[in-house]
Amino acid sequence: MHTASITIDGRKLLVDSKQTIIEAAASNGINVPHFCWHPKLSVSGNCRICLVEVEKMPKLVIACMTQVSDGMIINTTNDRVINAREAVMEFILLNHPLDCPICDEAGECKLQDYAFSHSSGFSRFNEDKVHKPKRVELGQHVMFDAERCILCSRCIRFCDEIAGKHQLQFVQRGDTTTIETFPGEKLDNPYSMNVVDICPVGALTNTDFRFKSRVWEMSFTNSVCTSCSRGCNIEVGVRNNEALRLAPRLNENVNSYWMCDNGRLNSFKNINSPSRINLSQIKIGNNYSDIIWEAAIQNIVDNLKVFKKNEVAFLLSSEATNEDNYIMFKFAKEAFSTENIYCYKHTEMNDEDDILIRGDKTPNSFGVETLGINSSKLQELIQKINSGEIKAIYSLEDSFQENEDLFNSFSQLKYFALHATNNSKFTTIANIVLSASTSFEKSGTIINFQGQIQRLIPSIATEEDERSLDGFELSRWDKFAAWNDKWGKGPKRNSRSSWKIVSEVANNFGIKLKFKSSEEVFLELTQKNSAFSGMTYLKLGSQGMKIKNKNINSEVKVS
């Protein structure tokens, strides 16, 4: 690496000589304002807000396009630069409508922030602003407001460079310039909604979230998307205990700044969908009726005891966390000392690309493999059920992808206990359905296809939790709501984390599992399995860690 020694605002710095001024400044904690520059996109240099002064250069230069060179002396805050910045802001704001009160971006808008920090505070423009179309549907998920657009071209470059689909382009000239899709094209690539995040103003808005909440009314929880085995890092926007918006969060090892539209739109819709299971259900005759937790757990214990130890099979789930799977595994090993532990894996290999989307649609199939359980053995389970060798199954939450073979086979079971978050085909054949928490309601860890172990942090409270007391991220409403206030009181579901349910069952079997939190389960797991050794929730942090040996297939020793 060739280094260059430069001076920024009087600070002497040694930087990579291939960097531009803005990169060198950013890596040393100096923030140069910018609209069109994005660390992951090519440099376009059209917004001009990043003008800085370089000594011995006659004019100001844009920091995003100018490469550093040895001996450069750069000023980012002197009068000349500030004057230029204010002038640029005045130009950008000339035709920008005063829409902030009805704009979804307000509160997280770069232009709004810079209007406070880098603008003179008033406009000399008395003429009428240019009017452009306000509601243009660029694609199914993205709405475009042409008046608000400041023509930074980030969205165009994103489609060209990251999504690999040339769908957007500038049209017209001068102050009538606007962005359109190519004739006959729609902004319909599977990553289209990232343009909403990178848009520095509110020109591009998310049609799913549009007008649902102001950003300052939501709390934001760092978690992980569970719609495929990529495990994109996300930020969950919650208001009134209801997830309203997911947005990607930077993690260079996993997803960079991006996430796919499917994960963003669909992974949280099951929480409050009409098919959500609210309380455990027991099958009586052909109907299901609600059952309280104690009775449901006693039902499982009583029914599993009827069978011989080798007649019962256990299904781990690649949709559940490592903690859930470990407790189920431990219960199966200790109470039944059985080898009949299986797992299903949901794959759609035709829906995979080389950007983010993975064909393996389960978030934690790798985590199940660290317990020595492989989904390839599933055929063996079907044979054993068909031959009558296995008569009962206790399964963690899994949609089983509506698999026909598995459905027919499970229909023959004498007893089928299933954890589930939502009603599916399989909940119609279960003898008892236990109401399990979704990935947004529980704490735990999952491992993505690269072996990156990451934390799921609960963002939605269940009936067991109190947002203000149990460590949830709090919005203003959550903090100040009194008991009799309407707001802040969104619906809560009567569900529990799977590891808690299985622990209860195990306790009634006489196997004492005294875990108080998922962290305690994880700590035991780190001691039992060398792949996790030395890890704690604290060390995993917001970015996760690589597990020790990626191709681990060793047996985990229980007890």
Binding site: P101, I102, K134, D485, K486
Partner: protein, 169 residues
């Protein structure tokens, strides 16, 4: 006994005249003052039969302005944000009208409202204003939460307040 107060300064005991010490003349003096008030004009307003004349800047309960059959409000949530008592709850939704958004739910908890008028001041659309209505009574908690049905007022009825705002802002 207060040590800073000299004994000679306590005048009341020593300096009273004979008449003052008699007590009754002083009582009569007081009664004379009282009797004199009877023939002066009274300041008391016989509420609720009589109502006081409100000054122009009087702040009664906040209302939403209804213009051409729809509310002016664009559900921006600024009143909700600025409200120091957290009385206002707004849920916005999209509309086909030019204003793009409207309040699907707009509720003011009148038990929380402190009539400070910040919502009126912050509103970019002059959609929420303080009316002259101050007589509020509820019999239970839920009836104190005013929804859009109680808050919407046709613009003609609040024109005085709007005029006042235009004059004074």
């Amino acid at each position: 006994m207060n040590e800073f107060l000299k004994k000679s300064e306590i005048k009341r005991l020593k300096n009273l005249t004979f008449l003052q010490r008699l007590y009754i003349p002083e009582i009569l003096k007081g009664i004379r003052i009282t009797l004199r008030q009877i023939f002066k004009p009274s300041f008391t307003i016989q509420y609720p039969e009589q109502k006081f004349i409100k000054p122009e800047s009087f702040r009664g309960r906040p209302v939403l302005v209804e213009e051409n059959g729809v509310e002016r409000c664009v559900a921006c949530g600024l009143c909700s944000r600025v409200c120091p008592a957290l009385a206002i709850d707004v849920q916005s939704a999209e509309t086909e009208l030019e204003k793009e958004r409207y309040p699907e739910i707009f509720e003011i908890n009148m038990l929380r409202c402190i009539f400070c008028g910040f919502c009126e001041e912050v509103c970019p659309e002059e959609a929420i204003i303080m009316s002259s209505d101050y007589e509020l009574s509820f019999t239970d908690y839920n009836s104190a939460i005013y929804g859009k049905d109680k808050l919407l007022v046709p613009i003609e009825k609040v024109q005085d307040r709007l005029d006042h705002l235009h004059r004074t802002r």
